[in-house]
Amino acid sequence: MAMPTLSPDWPGGFWAHWGIFVVIILVFVMAMVMGFIWFERRAIAIMQARLGPNRVGPFGFLQPVADAIKVLLKEDIIPAAGDKWVHWLAPVVAFVPVLMVFAVVPFADGALLADLNIGILYVVAVSSISVVGIFMAGWASNNKYSLLGAMRQVASVVSYEIPVVLSIMGVVLLAGSLSMQQIVLAQDIPFILLQPLGFLLFFIGACAEINRAPFDLMEADSEIVAGFHTEYSGMKFALFYLVEYGEALAISAIVTTLFLGGWRGPVLPPWLWFLVKVGLVFFAIVWIRTTVPRVRIDQLMALAWKFLFPLALLNLLITAVEILVFPAVSLWVLVLINIAIMVVLVILWSKLFKLGWGRVEV
């Protein structure tokens, strides 16, 4: 077994590189998640004509810290008839894949933990493990509403994986490689312009997978109780909360890398561009959460299978045709063609598409 080789830029051996990046990723994820919690509460508040938290620290910066301390001091309750080990293991299984996704996200040119040549496939595979953790949480709570909520979550994640993966395939076809570093390097024009339909599908599908509005029916009050994390309190609940924001951070990072050009940009240092773009994508997610109402569960499934899935297939087909048949055409012409195709397809599908059931005869 040979030692894995390293790109010649990094000083120290393989283990020094690994150690530095593990620390960077952990600090980045924890700090950004806390920053996101603060940012979301302030942004939603100002969009609702009120102030957010502003008592703890200047502008309320320390509010997530106060929340974390409060949550750590709470009593840890385990349902008596539930499965104790599964109950304990579920938040861990849900949280660790979120951290593992960041191993292949490039923060700057060549600055990532491991430049796998199957980068984006690794991301898709690992992020599906979180769902197992959520299902374990619903099962171990010994509560039929939790189980119902968890099963719905599994159904929705599985349904939305397909359009997400197909829209990623479009990007991969354009870049010619699965490695995240190569995808960023191939974006002379950011792929959001070359693949507008793919960006839309990926964004909607990703919001549905991470349970953010308008698809947050698993954790909101339209069901009778709070879904799969009803029976959790204390640090385990905090881990589920971290999972939600960590996944939002992971999705923002992946959208930035795949569609917005990662760390590329003219004047500022690369890691600063990365942070700015991640912040912009997260702002878009928060903005949509503030404005849009929630969909119902059958409308959610209908949206995935009848609207996003055919559009994702068509997107892949058109991208493949463009690459094979017109390789020499200038990229800017392709941008215009793709935007026109996206508008036509969205309008066409909106007319043909019927969401959800109506009333059931009893």
Partner: protein
């Protein structure tokens, strides 16, 4: 149901929320900033004027809840009732102001202050001396036009907020 408006409806809603980012929030930070209440506020207490009160008990008769208790005795020298007990149970009072309206001698006023919480229910029962006017217990202008003109004007949210900035 069809996806009727091709996403334009969602885009319009998003523009409204985005516009709010540029507007000043309308929150008042409470203990540090306070708004001036109405001049006719029916605040959480009653204020009694001992000189003007004749003990006629019209207020007690017009109270729907029966919270005012008055006991008077006859005084030979002054040819008017001596009010021995004038007690209001502000825990039971609904602050409707009918007693203030009914008083023919303008001897009873609603309070102007509204931060009158107490830790014990027994402290809410106000006897004769507790009901007198003082610096903290100012009378409000409800149904008393002479006091109403001396009080400051109310802050209105209308003056602080507009639709298009």
């Amino acid at each position: 149901m069809k996806f009727e408006r091709y996403g334009i409806g969602i885009a319009k809603g998003l523009s409204v929320t985005l516009r709010h980012l540029l507007r000043r929030p309308v929150t008042t930070q409470y203990p540090e900033q306070r708004l001036v209440t109405s001049r006719r506020i029916r605040g959480n207490e009653l204020v009694w004027d001992r000189e003007k009160c004749t003990g006629c008990a019209t207020c007690a008769k017009s109270c729907p809840q029966g919270t005012i208790q008055i006991v008077t005795s006859v005084s030979a020298e002054e040819n008017k009732y001596v009010v021995e007990k004038f007690e209001v149970d502000t825990g039971y009072c609904i602050f409707c102001g009918l007693c203030v309206e009914a008083c023919p001698y303008e001897a009873l006023f609603m309070g102007y202050a509204y931060e009158r919480a107490r830790y014990r229910r027994s402290e809410l029962v106000l006897a004769k001396e507790d009901l007198l006017a003082s610096e903290e217990r100012k009378p409000s202008g409800y149904f008393r036009p002479k006091i109403e003109v001396t009080l400051p004007r109310q802050t209105l949210l209308l003056d602080r907020d507009r639709a298009r900035r």
